[in-house]
């Protein structure tokens, strides 16, 4: 199983190209422009922190790159895929293979054990049940929770839950991991655990990580900080 | 109280789809319940409405219906000599000597056969049976092979338009009129001249005699006199009671099925209410806690949830009753087990039925919400706030 993840180091993590992307929402009848012709290039293997005041569009940009939303105009290229041109079902399959998600609120399924939660994305890929279990167990080892495989989310602390979510995010061996305020709900110690783990994944396994945060301390763990304000980039 | 209602209404509109489904479910249940009530009413009307308490009918003893009955002419004449019977100006008894058979006719819908009562009457029948009115055409002329058909027969069976002829017993009978007898069973019959019908069907005996007594109080004495007469073996009944007993089997059968189905549906309605209210309580635990912390007492919580359930049930009940009331334009025409011929029942809508329908819905809603509302009221404040 080591080889499955290790082999990725040999592959180049793809470059993410966002070209002149615009996105707006309608709220209560009013049209609000969230991203305004934004362009950004993210090199493979980087750990980026997206920061900015509330309403700056950082979460929106994250969602667009992760393929769970579509831009109104512009292009987004992840590696060779123009994900802004894919159909809904193609996008769904692409996500299954290429993206790992970590949300602020852990979003684990309370009725499944840690192992089952981590194995869930693997149900979308053809493989034997035993292989799924092995890969899930390995992912949990990587995040340091190998001894908690049979625990239910209610039996885990906040930080542990988030680490299970990270294990789930990496189990399909995606090229890119996106995290939306992953430490927003954690105490300082747990937050550090989680962020160190992300750092390790980036440095040791070469995963591209894009993290949205408003916490400057969390942002320090990243390689680069990108600032947004009112839908436009401020720094790079 | 107003706050509670506001609170309830807001929640109903927030969970639109779910509320709609519950309302629809209750509406369907109420619809079937009310339609069953309406049919019962309709059957009762037909049963009671056929024949009049003023008229007396005589059939042969032991016969269960007019078809099985046979009265010889001499015996009939002897009976009709009784003084208690109303006479016409010329001294002859005011009586209709009916001859009733059952004939096979083909339905308009699919041509399949069904049995229809064909009744030969005397001219006195039209004055004795007051509810008869000609809707189209005219009365058949006595002494001819003309007939008129009841509205229910005209609607269901082929060959019954005015100008057409019905082939019964190898003879063509000309349809000259369509008559209505209201909701009574006579609307499901074909009427012609008794004296013409009898020889064609090789009958020498009347099926029944229908007449009036000079005074209604005479009935019991008259009945005694005639039934105990050793020379003839007959049964004397009031006309309306007689026809009412004719449909007992069918009415009982429909009632048995109707009640069973209603019981199932009631259970279903209550279950639906319980499920909805239970989920409502479960999803609003926190708010219940807040309300209690603010000072609302358990009884307020109970009333709020009961009221919400009642609101849903009321809307569903009204909707279901409206849907059911549409059946009043319909009728069921089927074979009466007793007389072996077709009879039509309508669905009768009365204010009482409307009230029952809505009441039924409200009761279901109340019963269904009882335990969930109770559990909501008995919630410990601290636990509720924790969710």
């Amino acid at each position: 199983m080591n080889t499955a993840i290790a082999s990725n180091i040999e592959n180049q993590s793809p470059i993410i190209l966002v070209e002149r992307v615009t996105k707006s929402y309608t709220r209560g009848g009013e049209r609000i422009l969230v991203l305004d012709e934004l362009s950004i290039e993210i090199k493979g293997g980087s750990f980026i922190a997206l920061m900015g005041p509330s309403g700056s569009g950082k979460t929106t940009l994250l969602n667009l790159i992760a393929g769970i939303d579509r831009p109104d105009s512009g292009r987004i290229l992840v590696g060779d895929s123009n994900i802004s041109a894919l159909s809904e079902s193609q996008l769904t399959s692409w996500r299954a293979r290429s993206v790992g998600f970590i949300f602020q609120f852990y979003n684990l399924f309370p009725v499944l054990t840690a192992l089952e939660n981590v194995a869930l994305p693997l149900s979308l890929l053809p493989m034997k049940s035993s292989e799924r279990k092995e890969r899930a167990a390995f992912a949990l080892e990587v995040v340091g929770l190998g001894d908690r495989v049979d625990h239910y989310p209610r039996q885990l602390s906040g930080g542990q839950e988030q680490r299970v979510a990270i294990a789930r995010a990496i189990v399909t061996d995606p090229a890119m991991i996106v995290a939306d305020e992953p430490t927003g709900d954690l105490d300082r110690t747990s937050a550090t655990e989680v962020l160190s783990l992300l750092q390790r994944l980036n440095k040791e396994y070469g995963k591209t990580i894009i993290m949205v945060t408003h916490d400057l301390v969390a942002a320090e763990f990243a390689g680069h900080i990108v600032q947004l304000d009112k839908g436009k980039l401020i720094t790079k | 109280m107003a706050l509670e209602l506001q609170y309830n209404f807001r929640y109903l509109s927030v969970r639109k789809t779910s509320s709609l489904m519950t309302i629809l479910g209750i509406a369907l249940v109420v619809m079937v319940f009310v339609a069953t009530l309406m049919l019962s009413n309709g059957i009762r009307e037909t049963l009671r409405g056929t024949g009049s308490p003023k008229n007396v009918i005589v059939i042969r003893n032991g016969a269960q219906n007019e078809i099985q009955s046979g009265l010889k002419r001499d015996d009939s004449n002897a009976l009709l000599a009784d003084e208690a019977i109303v006479r016409q100006t010329d001294g002859s008894p005011d009586v209709t000597t009916d001859s009733v058979i059952v004939a096979s006719m083909r339905k308009r819908s699919d041509g399949s056969p069904s049995n229809v009562t064909v009744r030969g009457v005397s001219k006195e029948a039209y004055s004795l049976r007051e509810g008869i009115s000609v809707q189209n055409g005219r009365l058949p002329t006595f002494g001819t092979r003309e007939v008129m058909v009841g509205t229910a027969i005209h609607a269901k069976f082929a060959g019954t338009d005015i100008g057409q002829s019905l082939r019964i017993g190898g003879i063509d009978w000309n349809v000259v009129g369509i008559f209505s007898a209201g909701n009574s069973g006579f609307s499901s019959e074909v009427w012609g001249d008794s004296e013409i019908l009898m020889p064609v069907f090789r009958r020498e005996q009347f099926s029944s005699l229908t007449f009036r007594l000079t005074s209604p109080q005479e009935f019991d004495a008259f009945k005694n006199r005639i039934e105990n007469n050793p020379r003839m073996s007959v049964t004397v009944r009031r006309e309306n009671e007689f026809y009412e007993s004719q449909s007992k089997m069918l009415a009982t059968f429909i009632a048995a099925i109707g009640i069973t189905i209603s019981i199932f549906f009631s259970i279903g309605a209550i279950l639906g209410a319980i499920i909805t209210m239970h989920s409502a309580v479960a999803s609003r635990k926190h708010e219940i806690g807040v309300l209690r912390a603010l000072g609302f007492r358990p009884i307020h919580i109970f009333r709020a949830f009961a009221a919400e359930s009642l609101m849903i049930s009321l809307i569903g009940g009204i909707l279901g009753t409206i849907l059911a009331s549409l059946t009043s334009f319909a009728s069921i025409s089927t074979t009466n087990f007793d007389t072996f011929s077709d009879v039509r029942f309508g669905f009768t809508l009365t204010p009482a039925v409307l009230a029952y329908g809505v009441l039924f819905a409200l009761i279901m809603g109340l019963i269904g919400s009882f335990f969930p509302a109770l559990s909501a009221a008995r919630m410990r404040v601290v636990e509720a706030l924790r969710s």
Binding site: N63, I68, D69, T92, S93, W94, R97, F101, F103, N107, F109, L112, E116, L120, P121, S129 | S18, M21, T22, L24, G25, L28, V29, M31, V32, N61, G62, A63, Q64, I67, Q68, I101, A103, S104, S112, S114, N115, G169, G170, F201, T252, F253, I254, I257, T260, I261, F264, F265, G268, L271, G272, I275, T276, H278, S279, A282, S283, T334, T335, F340
Partner: protein, 389 residues
């Protein structure tokens, strides 16, 4: 696949009270459905019991008119006719009750046309030797506690007067489906008294029952017989027993149609209740479905999950139905259905009804997942995930 099933199964149990109540709802609905179709089936059972090689000859004008006895020879000699008998429907009162078993006055040959009655040769012998003999069906004997050798009295209605019979045999019928709610006595006994006392068309019979030869064409035989008596004062109508019984059924076709309609309403209500529960469950877990979508679960996969959950409930409801039916089967029909049993000669829950219920629970389960799945498919993942903050 099994992993997903685990998710489905545990989700269904998350709200045990609600799931249990919904399951009971499904069971109640299926019970109502089975009840209605059992009633309909009882009505139609006559068709199933009718034999393909039997035909009925009766007066073409009306069921209540008779045919002359003299027609018998002509009927017997018709090519293709193997056996024939005749009879009259008696319709009397037993123990002063509006009785619900049929009484027929028949000739000896009639009993040959109905072998499924399982009338033994001994019974036939006794029937032939006693003019007042009566053969009573097993169900009649059981219901009214009639013993072999008993003398019973029947009050005539069409043929008025008190009639006495000696019960010389109680016939069991070949199987459950055979109608043993009948009684047969001798036609010559009826006719003689009719001729002397009652004078209601003596020497006339109500119908002929005919067994046709194997391979004979019913249409040919009916034409042959009816042609013989066409334009006579007593025209005949000859039809297969199946057509004859169906004629009776079609007389009540309206009620059957209404019952079928109500059974569909029952299924519709079941669908509503199950869909409502699924809507509520999925609403509570909206975030989880958003996560599944973000993980790459397609709409059809999520639909499958929801259907799976709905099916867990509906199939459980079906199993509960089977349990209840097992209990029902072990009880006598009268205990369960009460007086309704009297209206039909055969009243039992058929296997087909159970199969139809299984099918209904599968279809409703699959459909109930539909609306919630549709809602979730239209949901924007980003909207849902944003909401909590």
């Amino acid at each position: 696949m099994l992993d997903l099933f685990r998710l489905i199964y545990r989700n269904a149990l998350r709200h045990p009270v609600r799931s249990a109540l919904t399951t009971i709802g499904v069971t109640v609905a299926l019970l109502a459905f089975c009840f209605i179709h059992t009633v309909i089936g009882a009505w139609m059972s006559g068709v199933e019991r009718s034999a393909k090689n039997r035909m009925v000859v009766r007066n073409a004008v009306s069921l209540i008119f008779y045919l002359p006895l003299s027609y018998y020879d002509a009927v017997l000699s018709t090519p293709g006719v193997e056996k024939a008998g005749y009879g009259n429907w008696f319709g009397g009162l037993f123990r002063n009750e509006r009785v619900r078993f049929q009484q027929f006055a028949v000739n000896d040959a009639y009993l040959d046309v109905y072998p499924e009655l399982a009338i033994s040769p001994e019974m036939r012998e006794k029937f032939r030797n006693n003019r007042q003999a009566a053969l009573v069906g097993r169900e009649v004997a059981d219901k009214y506690n009639i013993k072999l050798g008993e003398r019973i009295q029947i009050q005539g209605t069409i043929f008025p007067g008190l009639w006495e019979f000696d019960v010389v045999g109680i016939f069991p019928g070949r199987d459950q489906q055979t109608d043993t709610r009948t009684m047969f006595f001798r036609w010559d006994y009826l006719n003689e008294r009719n001729r002397i006392e009652i004078q209601r068309q003596p020497d006339h019979i109500g119908f002929f029952a005919v067994q046709i030869a194997a391979g004979a064409e019913p249409a040919v035989i009916s034409k042959a017989i009816d042609d013989k008596f066409a334009n006579s004062p007593f025209e005949t109508l000859t039809e297969t027993e199946t057509a004859f019984v169906q004629g009776f059924i079609s007389m009540s076709s309206t009620i059957i149609t209404v019952l079928v309609f109500v059974s569909y309403v029952v299924i519709a209500i079941m669908l509503l209740v199950l869909t409502n529960t699924m809507l509520m469950s999925s609403q509570e877990r909206l975030r989880e479905y958003a996560v599944l979508k973000s993980l790459g679960f397609s709409s059809s996969r999520i639909w499958a999950l929801l259907c799976g959950e709905a099916l867990v409930i509906s199939v459980s409801g079906f199993f509960m139905l089977c349990l209840i039916l097992a209990v029902v089967f072990s009880l006598p029909p009268r205990t369960v259905f009460g007086s309704l049993v009297d209206f039909f000669p055969v009243f039992a829950v058929k296997p087909w009804t159970v199969v139809a219920s299984a099918f209904a629970s599968l279809v409703v389960g699959a459909a109930a997942g539909g609306i919630p799945a549709f809602r979730i498919a239209r949901l924007k993942v980003t909207e849902v995930l944003r909401r909590v903050e």
